[in-house]
Structure formats: structure tokens, C-alpha cells
Subunit: 185 residues, 2 copies
DNA sequence: CCAATATACATCGGGTTCGAGGTATAAGCT
DNA sequence: AGCTTATACCTCGAACCCGATGTATATTGG
């Protein structure tokens, strides 16, 4: 998740670590702050992997900084991760939101739509949080208001996202144009 | 998060590891499946901490199992974690949902309301996911439909939760009785 | 009767993350 | 001149998590 965010932000423009830190913190830090001890080692191993280059530059404001540039390999890695996200990237909200933040860097609308459809499929499968003797429990079955709330909120949030997903997929994949040589009607 | 779920499920009834696994998977596994290699070490260290006891019993269906019982210390630990959750438990959705699933085990409605109010305060503080030159960007400012969606969804979900939070806090903490006799009609 | 499946538990290695601490530089305040 | 704050980077140990792998038992299906 962190690595994806780093690749994504650097795709737009070169940044130094500190700047990257503030951007990552804005994107995900509200929910899950990123520690220096996580960010800098990540930068280091990504540089070692050849995905980015580090350049010493004098600090504009204070201490000298190390500007980070995405390499061609880095851009390919970003695209690979966007095109073929793991199941966790689809199901975990934090990861999914990160992915969504950079999905525009896939240049094929069809590929973008394919990723959205995976999320759609995930949200459409019925699930329950609690089971009693193997039977899923509905919100109304709980005396507990907190578990009721849990299910209510989960339902409301997924409805909102489903609506957006369906609309966006449609706009990315307009119906097959009714051309003169239709492969399929 | 995992430890909280274990404490919470065992608060209701003794369970063996495998049963625990299915329950934890139902609660959080949809989003973030829990691996055996995570669960069993967690059980082990929680037993070492004195929060639970393990008992060998013959398997009802197949292999012998180790029944897990929450100790008094374990119950106190659960209550401590519910009463004084860390910031991450409040901000991270996965953790927060887990907490919510077991919040009924705090027996004081006031304490429950206090926890809900922390989440409320967190959701009420204005935040932005993206900044341009230090200025937060609104959804309309993006050409990018994915970032637009990101903000739209985040907004919708937090509205749903806010409504629930406010209603539930009110029901847990009825308005101060205006009379000289605080009994309340 | 054999294979597959579900139950049930466990360990190990590799990798990631966090928290705490440390080192500098420059600006602004007192 | 000294203090604080913001910028900017880095390391280390402890903890944690995941995936792979391994062991064993009972039921079900072919």
C-alpha cells in the first residue's frame, strides 16, 4: 500500500522524502499515519529494486534533501500493480482507496474498468459479519445496538460505493458502438 | 485488532482455535483474511500473558482440540482495550469495526458513549486527501474521476456513520434531567 | 477401499511495520 | 545568544504478519 502510494505520487512529479511523507500522510495518514521508520526503509528498498533514483540536492528551506525520481522500471511496476492488483488491494478499504487514487495512471479505460469491476464483484458478494450455528445473522436479530450499527453502516457505505462503481464503469465502457460490422450484436 | 477479536469472542463463550478462526474470518476476514500463522502465535502469546487458558479435549468431529477459556485477567484486558482504545483503533476502519463488535462488553453506557464520541470527533474533523500547494482540494477540482469518486464515497460513508453515531450517543446518554430530582421520569 | 475434504493444530523464515531515538540545517522569536 | 520550530534524513530493535509447510483424525463420496 505504501509502495503503491510512493510510486503513484512520484509518477506525477519528482519529490523528496519529506514532501512524500506529507502527501502520503494526507492520503492515508488520517486513518493510518505513516512513520519515518516505515517510509525511509521503503524508499531505500525501492531504490535498490531500481524503481527510483535518489539525487542529493541542497535544501531549499533547511537541510539538504534527496530528490526522488521514478525510473522507467518504476513506472512499469506502478502500472503492473494497478493493472493486476492482489485480492487484498481489492478487499481492504485502505489499500483500495490508495489504488483508486492512482488508477488514472492506467491509460486504457478498459483496464481501468476491469479493475473497478473486480471491486464491484467483491462488494456484490453477500457476506455477513456474524454467524450463529452456521447461519448468517441479520442486523435486526441483534439486541446489541453496536453490532446493529456495524451492519447498518457497512451496508450504507457499500451501497454508496456500488452506485458510484456502476456509474463509472458505464462511463468508461460505453455500449458497443452499433457499427456496420458488428462482431456481435 | 486480532487480539481484541479473540478476547471479544472468548468473552461470550469458550472456543477452540479452529472455531475462533472461522468467527474471526467472518468478522474481518472478508476484508483481511487471517492466516493460521497469525492466529496460533497470537493465541500462544495471549496464553503466555495469562489472558486465556488452553485445555486439551477430544475432538468432537475430528482431531483433538484445545479449548480456550478467557481468564479474569483476559476479561479485564478486554475491558481495558474497549475503554481506552488507541488512536489507531478509532481512526482505522477495520480496527474500529472490530471494537464496535464487542463494545457491548463495556457495562457502563457512559463509557460506551465516551468511545463513540471519540469516533465522532474523529469523523467530524475536516480532512482532505489531496493538497495542491498546501491547499486542500475539493472533489470538483479533479478532472480525474477516480479521485472524485474517492472523495464522494468517503463523504457518503462518513455521513452514514455520523448519523448513526449521533443517534446512538443520544440514546445512551439521555439529556441531563432538568429537575431537582435527577431520578428522571 | 481409496481419495478428497473438513477438522484441528503448529512452526518457521522472510519480510514489514512501528516507535523511539539520533543527526543536521535554517528561520524566527525573545 | 539561546530557544523553539520546521525541515530533512536515517537507523535500530522489538513486534508482528504472511505464506508455506507439516502433522493428525474423521467423514464423505466414488
Amino acid at each position: 500500500m505504501l509502495e503503491l502510494a510512493i510510486l503513484g505520487f512520484l509518477r506525477d512529479q519528482p519529490l523528496h522524502g519529506y514532501d512524500l511523507r506529507t502527501r502520503v500522510a494526507a492520503l492515508m495518514g488520517h486513518v493510518r499515519p505513516v512513520a519515518d521508520g516505515t517510509l525511509y526503509p521503503a524508499i531505500k528498498r525501492m531504490a535498490a529494486a531500481g524503481w527510483l533514483l535518489r539525487n542529493h540536492e541542497p535544501g531549499l528551506v533547511a537541510a539538504p534533501r534527496r530528490m526522488l525520481y521514478l525510473t522507467v522500471e518504476g513506472r512499469q511496476e506502478l502500472e503492473r500493480r494497478l493493472r493486476e492488483p492482489g485480492e487484498l488491494d481489492i478487499s481492504d478499504e485502505n489499500r483500495w482507496f490508495t489504488l483508486l487514487a492512482f488508477l488514472r495512471h492506467l491509460d486504457e479505460p478498459k483496464e481501468q474498468a476491469a479493475v473497478l469491476r473486480r471491486r464491484l464483484a467483491f462488494l456484490e458478494e453477500p457476506t455477513s459479519f456474524f454467524y450463529e450455528d452456521g447461519r448468517p445473522m441479520a442486523a435486526e436479530e441483534f439486541a446489541d445496538p453496536f453490532r446493529q450499527g456495524l451492519l447498518t453502516i457497512a451496508h450504507a457505505t457499500s451501497e454508496a460505493e456500488l452506485a458510484w462503481l456502476r456509474a463509472t464503469i458505464d462511463s468508461l465502457e460505453p455500449l458497443e458502438p452499433p457499427g456496420p460490422h458488428p462482431e456481435r450484436p
